[in-house]
């Protein structure tokens, strides 16, 4: 198996008496499309923040392309090839669509991927976004704002795309369109990690799934094995 492009080793984070991440070890291979699922309070958002460097972990390591980035600030992880979108939309609402895309395009990257332009152009076409649009982003409907944020992350030229609930608030058709685009990007070589609630979406896109529960990795495997897993069904899928 190829070396992991993104991995964590026994990652731990505690907030007061609450253990939000407990010995989380993950290994995502290059070109994989991994979904991370779990019920509310499972530690998904904490894991997202630890991966992108918003919080420092109490223990454990984060490895990006084999390099230990645990002590590195968030912007350096991005420069090393991590691209991400947030659970709540954080496109710049008062700036124009063009400016929203221009800001990540201008950002410094240490090792640019040659696919960047192709990935971005493909996503803009499929999402129906005009990179020269001078309208303020706040005039876009919700689904296009979500897509704009994905396009912004792609404009960064990432090698690993980390998406926190990219389909939140989208209609079934918009969700399917998002799935189609992510699958195409993945097939063209981009590693994608999706933290997601929507099981239908996970079934459609995921190659492998990690289930978090009470801050720990509860199960890991293919979509089929996870959906057939009795304990996973009990803690999570049964309520989906």
């Amino acid at each position: 198996m190829a070396a992991s492009i993104l991995a964590t080793e026994r990652l731990a984070k505690r907030f007061g008496g609450v253990i939000a991440a407990d010995q989380v070890s993950l290994a995502v291979a290059p070109g994989e499309l991994r979904c991370i699922i779990g019920p509310n309070g499972a530690g998904k958002s904490t894991l997202f923040a630890l991966l992108c460097g918003i919080y420092p972990p109490d223990a454990g390591r984060v490895l990006l392309k084999g390099r230990d980035v645990t002590a590195e600030p968030a912007f350096r992880r991005v420069r090393h090839g991590l691209g991400l979108t947030f659970q709540t939309n954080r496109a710049y609402h008062s700036l124009s669509i063009r400016q929203n895309l221009e800001i990540p395009l201008r950002a410094e990257r240490l090792d640019r991927t040659h696919e960047r332009g192709q990935h971005l152009r493909y996503a803009l076409d499929e999402f129906g976004l005009d990179p020269l649009d001078e309208r303020p982003a706040r005039e876009l409907p919700h689904h296009r704002l979500q897509w704009l944020e994905i396009a912004m992350a792609l404009a960064n030229g990432p090698e690993v795309l980390l998406l926190d609930e990219p389909t939140a608030g989208l209609s079934p058709e918009e969700t399917r369109q998002t799935a189609r685009v992510l699958q195409h990007l993945n097939r063209s070589g981009l590693t994608i990690i999706v933290i997601e609630h929507d099981i239908a979406f996970v079934r459609e896109v995921a190659q492998s799934v990690t289930v978090l529960h009470q801050g720990r990795v509860f199960a890991e495997g293919s979509v089929e094995s996870i959906t057939a897993h009795e304990d996973v069904r009990r803690i999570y899928l049964g309520r989906a």
Binding site: P73, F75, S94, L95, Q99, I103, A107, E108
Partner: protein
Amino acid sequence: MRGFRLLTGPEDIGRSAWFWLGFAIVVAGIYGYATLISDFDASNLAYYLSNIPIALGLSLLWGYCGVLSFGQVAYFGIAGYLYGIIAGNMAGNDWGPLLAALGSLAGCAAVAAVFGYFIFYARVQMWIAPILTLTFTLLLETFLGQTAGYQWRVGSVQLGGYNGMTGIPSFQLAGLVFSGRSFCYYALTFVLLCFLFCRMLVGSGAGRVMLAIREDALRTELLGYDIRARQLTVFVLAAVLAGISGLLYVQWGNYITPSQIGLLQASLPVIWVAVGGRDSLLAVAISTYVLNWLNYSLSSTGSEYALVIIGGLLVAVMLFFPNGIIVALARDLPRHGWRAALAPRLAGH
């Protein structure tokens, strides 16, 4: 051409060629006006103009980068005192004032870099920045206030405690001394260059990143920008602009006292910037000039309440034009109508 494109960027009022033609006519008019008025009026004109750079710096820092500093006058004072110390010790040397000016601005930048490093690299919450910056200027005022004794001198220059430093040399280049009317031309040119530089900065890609940081600092960091370094750079630039105002002030009046960096003076740049509209350099430059003129006119006609009136104006503007009065009239009104211009938050802007 690239320079003109940067000047006409979308981040400030006035983008058309007609605007810049009007701007050139107004600037030429001010130069012409300075030749016609008395020496006394030219001196007043220079004083009003000398306050514009500190306001432009605060506009960059607060309006464009989202960091409010309540202590910009600290750098005004540092530049003023340093200029006085260096130029005073080089009295008789034709190049002394120029070296003093450069040295004092370098001193401002160095102090701001060290102080700003602790603010931004410690990642303090941005609402704490005004408290820290105000505390810094008040500490500096207190320190300078107790420097009355003979032991508080640097070379041949006395710091002077609350009586301040007097006899500060005027600016000169080789044998050409700038005082009276010539100082007015010099100040106008200096302020004009500061304005054009700031406009080009906000029109550039770096200006767009400043706006992105103001909008959402975490998002911007997670697009790969070291926001601490960016904020620190703007903080240092704003300090240098405040220093330019301090420099012009001591070259104009040949003295400086610690009260120039006290609480009252610290609040004035915030008022000038807020009344005009903090995210427009043009609005800030106009409101700074007009409010200084108004303050002086009210004071000189015997009104004891000049500052009360200025403060009342701030309250009224904040209530009715929270984005600033000039920004509301010149930008929000044409774009969104009266309702948005008067109360942007109510209208969802």
